[in-house]
Amino acid sequence: MNDAWSFFLFAAFVDNMPLTLFLGLCTFLALSRRTESAIGLGIAMTGVLGVTVPLNHLIYNGLLAPGAWGWAGQPDLDLSYLALIAFIGVIAATVQLLEMLLDRFFPAIHAAFGVFLPLLTVQCAILAGSLFMVERNYTLGESAIFGVGSGVGFAVAVVMLSAIRARLSYADLPAGLRGLGIAFILTGLMSLGFASFAQMAAAQ
């Protein structure tokens, strides 16, 4: 159990998607102007990552990995080059399904998410979750923890950034730095802070 917990912390903080791996930055910067939208984005990311990474793990290891068709007498078949298309399909379907379910059962939440739920289909952080799962050979349990953990890490980072940006909207910045420029520099500073988690992991 302890292992699972430290793996979760690793996925959430050491390998933080936006701050150390540079993933999902477009939405990270675009939706961190207001804290409400940042919280919504964080929850949606956690949900979609938590579902798609284990699902893609099953699909990859059951259908696409080299040797996956050994039981059917095709041990040399290697379909791993199809992984990208399969993953995208699963992600699009999951997002679509999530949208329909929310619309049916939680219309208030659905309305609050608005346009950025469908946008999660083309979020690099979500696809990257599945690609990393393949590259690092995670087991099914690890993939599930990795999915949820990296979603939580993204949520923490985006909510923190939105809080800082809310305060900074009153600051007197140089004109060229307003908006995007200062957001990058803030993200850099946060990334510097999160780099200390990597030291912690290395010390263990």
Binding site: F22, I85, L127, E135, G176
Partner: protein, 221 residues
């Protein structure tokens, strides 16, 4: 219409004035992640430009045949197929760089720059202007990547394209590598700096302030 489209402005606008990375916040993830050396930045730039140009051309050719409701899926599948081809080519001929790029080549599929251009331009224009627009945007993206990649490699290792440019201190020279340049934060700082520099010159890109401070009379003394 197509004959009179000013190709030159379509091509050059995205370089600085309408740069996809610094103005429209598109495709930043890969722009930052692959820039620890100039070689990876260049590879990524070429891959993205090729994928973007071809995808824009294909989508523009079939733009009247895609039902509106499933166009996102169709576009993503086209882009993903192109990315698979590029990825296989890189793995076959440039396996070292392909390993350094790790999952980021695959992530071209979900690069918002690609989808943004196909959604905003290729869907409404003839194939040739779409491809010119896509190529211009690819060049604009490459420009940012190359600038940041060059700075990071130069100051992080003292090298450019793997060739020692600045003599290292422990080899008798004078330059001590700044290893911070190779870490994540410096990429953010550099891109923030690039945005600042561009917007100081192109002042019309400056974002309006969220709040204007009340004009305060100078304290009488």
């Amino acid at each position: 219409m197509a004959a009179r489209t000013p190709f030159w402005t379509t091509l050059t606008d995205p370089l600085i004035r309408q740069n996809p990375v610094t103005l429209q916040i598109l495709g930043i993830c890969s722009a930052l992640a692959v820039t620890t050396s100039l070689a990876t930045a260049l590879t990524m730039s070429v891959s993205l430009t090729v994928v973007l140009t071809l995808a824009a051309g294909i989508i523009s050719v079939i733009r009247r045949h895609i039902p509106d409701t499933i166009r996102l899926i169709v576009q993503i599948v086209i882009v993903a197929s192109l990315v698979i081809v590029i990825d296989q080519i890189l793995q076959a001929y440039f396996s070292e760089i392909s390993r350094a790029l790790s999952v980021y080549v695959g992530l071209i599929t979900t690069n918002c720059l690609v989808l943004g251009r196909t959604e905003a331009y290729a869907r409404y224009h003839a194939p040739l202007p779409s491809m010119v627009d896509a190529f211009g945007n690819g060049l604009g993206y490459s420009l940012v990547l190359i600038v940041i990649g060059a700075i990071r490699e130069l100051f992080g290792w003292g090298q450019l394209m793997g060739i020692q440019v600045l003599p290292l201190a422990d080899e008798g020279g004078w330059f001590t590598p700044l290893s911070l340049m190779l870490l994540a934060p410096s990429a953010f700082f550099l891109l923030g700096g690039v945005v600042w520099a561009v917007r100081s010159v192109q002042t019309e890109q400056v974002e309006p302030p969220d709040h204007t401070p009340p004009s305060r009379p100078e304290p009488a003394e």
